[in-house]
């Protein structure tokens, strides 16, 4: 119901919304929870396990009960806290975990079975028969338990993630936070002020007490405007700081557009990473309930929330209200609700010596509320005196207060434990819990408004002063300064079930039962009962549960300890944390300059790391990839082929000491290489295994360009940086990755020179450009580089031009190749060509092979040191019995040789013990007309000509193979020259 004359919602702006299909109206400024309460709806959800009817317990982010699904179809957002969801026109919401309806939930039969579903029921009840677990029990439990469901459709909403930096991060914009931001901001520090609420002010919006002679909300608004006017202060409402991390990093979750009917171009949510030199934690305190029988009836809520609903939104769950507490603060609720014109029928205070601070309301000192009545909503409470006498009082709403817990969660995120305060009967944060973060205000135990204002101002000033800003303490406005007194009461003794964790349906009895079954450690009790393991992380219940555990085990609270608070403080959607990483955003896409034309030519593109490369270029009449591949291989061997090889890593090195440096990183010598020449090189890791291979060209005396394999480009760059900085800091050289700067194409085949001479501004010949030569060329006036190197084994070149000319050069090369009976070739043909030639790739140099294994041990120069040389000489790495690179061909001349298959002797047992090796690369050689493979075979170099069995159990292959030299085509290299 709405309370006349109360609340700060805009009653001139009516907003229509639906809940479970019914139409309601609320006002601008409402939350979904306040609008529903205003419309007379108390029942908003069903509990997780017993399907008990539930209404809101809080008015904020700690809400355990009022979880609803907001939005329709793919946009539906389950488990939205109705207390946090701002109302907008047309908002559609539905309740969760009920069937067929919220009012009539057939699964609430669980509640009748409660005696069997207590703590640990999972472990006891469903043990037998064993086979029933998967088939019967688990599906039934999963259907009965749970919260909201995802739509199952792709999420169409936009999310964002962002970084922010500041001198002082102020977390929370209540009285302490506002003063902290003001103090630090006035000093000139860069300040970010975050608050999880849509409106700043914290408790000031929920109280009657004045600040600086004005209503707290008015003072807040003025303060907020003053901060907004400061250029060095950034205000971030709707932003929850969810985690504290190392070196002043904080995670924050901003609900950017969840309060709008149409987010437009804005992301709905954003996950922030904030780097702050200092932080002031002004997160306030969270009220805790007192457990009593059936204290979960809709209409029972925290006393501060009841007061807040009246002051901020002008709503109450009913006209007849009662308040039950163990502290002075609860009296304010009775006082304020009576002043608002509600019928306060009882103020129950468990302290026998309490004084009535609420004015003219029926006062019950030394009494407790021992039971709530009303199945789908509170209808009456039972008040019990110290003498045991009970009376039943009809009410529609009950405010409960067991005191306040500082919201110190963030101070525990780096592992610190909070400290128990006997005075406050609450945990307080350790001052040094998070380096650079200072708790201030209620979170630090300052519970009056005045002490919050003062503490916040001082913390803001100190943070700025710490960073060298000349900071002065701002004037502290006048406000209430009443000391809050409290006498502990966690649960009212008695029969029946008294609820602690509302969301996970944990009762006082469950905690006692855990203790009785010796789950006496707080961590064990938590897991046995699931206390605090729901989406609200037990914000309203953890302390009560552990106090009851302490009582049940005869220990005090510090001895019992707390469970660990971990990030996030409140739920953060994965969609926000992973923003931008869906679909195409999952990984960057690297495209070569020939990409568009390759796609236009019909080439299927395949991934090579982040790159995309053409698999093959199909022509009319070719129905399989093999047909295209065979034709492309034949083209290269018989005419000329063009292949984009720009994805290979290219590192340009400049300086007089490049040769000496390369001698350190390569096993073979490079310092003797003449300008205008190219050399193949092998690189080892420090442990003696092969890291990478490739060619390096000496373009000029002091200018070199290294190529790496596509796969290892990043690793090699990192390695070169390491070697240069750690081992060779005195060498005079610089290098930089130029992979994207140059488009580079292989021109391979017997007609390659003919093709190039039709294109280059000055023709080349064998004398001027022999095998392994390099030099500058001019292509249509563009300065390029030409390398006479060959991966295919043919007379071949690689031509490089600045990347912006790549697309047009590729087009020209392909056109000319086609005119000469050739054309473009893709990865499949490239692979077959190199297998025929016995060239290794990372299929062979996969990180566990040595130079010895691939037959390159003579490339480790005996005359100089290099990275990996010492450890490559370890006895185990040069034994003849090691698997060595060999070629394989099927004896029948036709059986495919699957990669990954293992090799065994021609006869004998096939066991892991008799395994002789494995196949790394395979393909059909159109040149030889038979399948070929490369692989590693124990003592393989001595076995050329022998027969081995290739066995692949997965694909059911068993093929007798001849062991050969890895080089199957042109072993003497004659095709390369001339």
């Amino acid at each position: 119901m709405r309370i006349d004359g109360m609340g700060r919602v805009d009653r001139a702006r009516v907003l229509g919304f639906t809940f479970d299909g019914r139409r309601y109206q609320g006002f601008a400024g409402d939350t979904l929870a306040s609008a529903l309460l205003g419309a007379g709806v108390r029942l908003m959800g069903r509990s997780f396990k017993y399907h008990r009817p539930r209404g809101p317990l809080t008015a904020g982010s700690a809400e355990p009960n009022a979880l609803v699904t907001v939005g329709r179809g793919a946009r539906a957002e389950p488990n939205t806290r109705a207390t946090m969801q701002e109302l907008y026109n047309g908002l559609a919401s539905v309740s969760q975990n009920r069937w067929p309806s919220l009012a009539l939930d057939l699964l609430s039969v669980n509640d009748l079975a409660a005696p069997f579903l207590g703590a640990g029921f999972y472990y006891k009840t469903f043990m037998w028969p064993k086979a029933f677990w998967e088939k019967v029990y688990e599906p039934v439990i999963r259907r009965a338990a749970g919260l909201g469901a995802l739509s199952g459709q792709p999420n169409p909403d936009r999310y964002e993630k962002a970084f922010a930096f500041c001198d002082v991060l102020v977390i929370g914009a209540g009285p302490a936070g506002l003063m902290a931001a003001l103090a630090a901001g006035q000093a000139g520090a860069q300040v970010i002020l975050c608050d999880e609420d849509a409106a700043p002010g914290g408790r000031l919006l929920a109280e009657a007490e004045a600040v600086d002679g004005r209503p707290g909300a008015d003072w807040t608004a003025a303060q907020w405007e003053a901060l907004r006017a400061m250029e060095n202060v950034r205000l971030m409402p709707r932003t929850t700081v969810t985690g504290a991390y190392d070196q002043g990093s904080y995670g924050a979750h901003e609900r950017v557009a969840q309060h709008l009917a149409d987010p437009g171009a804005a992301p709905v949510e954003c996950f922030w990473r904030i780097a702050a030199q200092r932080a002031v934690l002004c997160s306030g305190a969270l009220e805790r309930p007192i457990a009593f029988r059936d204290n979960d009836r809709p209409g029972v809520m925290l006393a501060g929330a009841l007061r807040g609903y009246a002051h901020r939104w002008g709503v109450a769950p009913g006209r007849r209200v009662a308040v039950f507490g163990n502290n002075d603060d609860a009296h304010r609720t009775a006082r304020d609700l009576a002043a608002a014109g509600l019928e306060v029928v009882a103020l129950v205070d468990s302290r026998h010596d309490a004084e009535n601070r609420a004015g003219d309301v029926p006062f019950f000192p030394g009494h407790v509320v021992s039971r709530a009545h009303g199945r789908r909503g509170l209808s009456a409470i039972e008040i019990r005196g110290a003498d045991g006498r009970r009376q039943r009082v009809a009410v529609e709403a009950l405010g409960v207060s067991g005191g306040w817990n500082p919201a110190l969660h963030l101070t525990c995120h780096l592992g610190a434990r909070p400290v128990w305060s006997e005075t406050l009967a609450a945990f307080l944060p350790r001052a040094d819990a998070v380096p650079g973060l200072r708790p201030a205000g209620a979170v630090a135990g300052a519970l009056s408004t005045t002490s919050c204002l003062r503490d916040g101002a001082e913390a803001g000033r100190a943070a700025a002063a710490d960073l060298g800003f000349a900071a002065v303490l701002p004037a502290i406005p006048e406000a209430e300064d009443a000391p809050g007194r409290l006498r502990r009461l966690w649960a009212v003794p008695g029969r029946g079930r008294a609820w602690l964790d509302f969301q996970n349906d944990v009762t006082v009895k469950d905690v006692k039962q855990a203790a009785a079954e010796n789950y006496a450690s707080v961590e064990h009790m938590k897991r046995y009962t699931t206390q605090g393991m729901a989406t609200d992380q037990g914000k309203s219940s953890n302390i009560g549960a552990l106090a009851i555990l302490a009582d049940a085990t005869g220990r005090d609270i510090p001895q019992t300890g707390t469970t660990t608070f971990r990030p996030p403080y409140s739920p953060v959607p994965i969609a926000a944390m992973g923003a931008g990483a869906q679909g195409q955003g999952f990984a960057p896409v690297r495209e070569t300059t020939s990409h568009a034309q390759s796609v236009a030519m019909g080439a299927p593109m395949v991934e090579a790391g982040l790159w995309y490369r053409p698999s093959y270029f199909p022509r009319a009449g070719e129905t399989t990839w093999r047909a295209a591949c065979d034709r492309e291989v034949a083209m290269v061997r018989g005419a000329v082929g063009i292949c984009d090889v720009s994805t290979l890593g290219k590192i340009e090195l400049v300086g007089p000491d490049v040769g000496a440096f390369l001698d350190v990183v390569y096993t073979n010598r490079f310092s003797t290489l003449k300008p205008g020449r190219v050399r193949y090189g092998l690189m080892l890791r420090e442990d003696g295994h092969v890291m990478d291979d490739g060619t390096t060209a000496r373009l000029e005396a002091d200018r070199w360009v290294m190529t790496t394999t596509t796969a290892a480009a990043g690793q090699v760059m990192r390695h070169l940086d390491w070697v240069q900085q750690a081992w060779a800091p005195g060498m005079d050289l610089r290098f930089v990755s130029v992979t994207e700067r140059w488009a580079q194409f292989a021109v391979a085949g017997p007609r390659s020179r003919e093709l190039l001479n039709g294109l280059l501004d000055a023709p080349i010949d064998d004398a001027g450009f022999p095998f392994m030569a390099c030099g500058p060329v001019s292509v249509g006036g563009v300065a390029g580089r030409l390398f006479r190197i060959s991966f295919s084994g043919e007379h071949a070149y690689e031509i490089a031009v600045p990347a912006r000319f790549g697309a047009s050069l590729f087009e020209a090369l392909v056109a000319r190749a086609e005119a000469l009976g050739g054309g473009a070739y893709g990865m499949e043909a490239l692979n077959v060509l190199r297998i025929e030639k016995g060239h290794v790739t990372h299929a062979e140099i996969h990180g566990r092979v040595t130079a010895f294994d691939i037959g390159f041990q003579r490339m480790i120069s005996p005359a100089k040191e290099c990275i990996g040389k010492a450890l490559a000489a370890r006895p185990g790495l040069v034994e003849e019995s090691r698997p060595q690179l060999v070629g394989l061909r099927p004896l029948d001349g036709q059986s495919p040789l699957p990669a990954g298959a293992h090799l065994f002797a021609a006869e004998g047992a096939v066991t892991p013990d008799t395994d002789l090796g494995y196949v790394t690369s395979t393909g059909y050689s159109p040149t030889l007309g038979l399948p070929l493979a490369l692989g590693f075979l124990a003592n393989g170099r001595a076995r050329h000509g022998e027969t081995v069995r290739l066995i692949d159990r997965l694909r059911g292959a068993e093929v007798a193979c001849e062991v050969t030299d890895p080089v199957a085509v042109d072993p003497d290299g004659g095709r390369l020259r001339g």
């Binding site: 990473r273 780096l414 900085q725 750690a726 010492a870 450890l871 000489a873």
Partner: protein, 88 residues
């Protein structure tokens, strides 16, 4: 987590690649025994407390850093270029 690169200033740890213990810097001389090489390659301390390890500013300047930090408190005591201050 944030690291201070001596060349670039304080940066988010996502710009850096972790490598391992800074013991890697103390490479045996070329004539060292196989055991010395093997120890250098394989043996690492695993301290609960102060440690020195190598980070590479991969998404930054390419500098290799020695970072001294505490594995328990995550405090960072300092960062230095791996080869000393050779920047010219």
């Amino acid at each position: 987590m944030r690291l201070s690169c001596p060349l670039c200033g304080e940066r988010d740890r996502r710009e850096f690649t972790y490598q391992g213990a800074a013991a890697m810097v103390d490479r045996p001389a070329p004539g060292a025994t196989t055991e010395q090489w093997s120890d250098w390659l394989h043996l690492r301390d695993n301290p609960a407390g102060r440690t020195r390890d190598l980070w590479y500013h991969e998404a930054g300047c390419g500098a290799w850093l020695v970072v001294e930090r505490d594995t328990v408190t995550h405090e960072i005591f300092g960062t230095a270029l791996v080869g000393g201050d050779h920047a010219d």
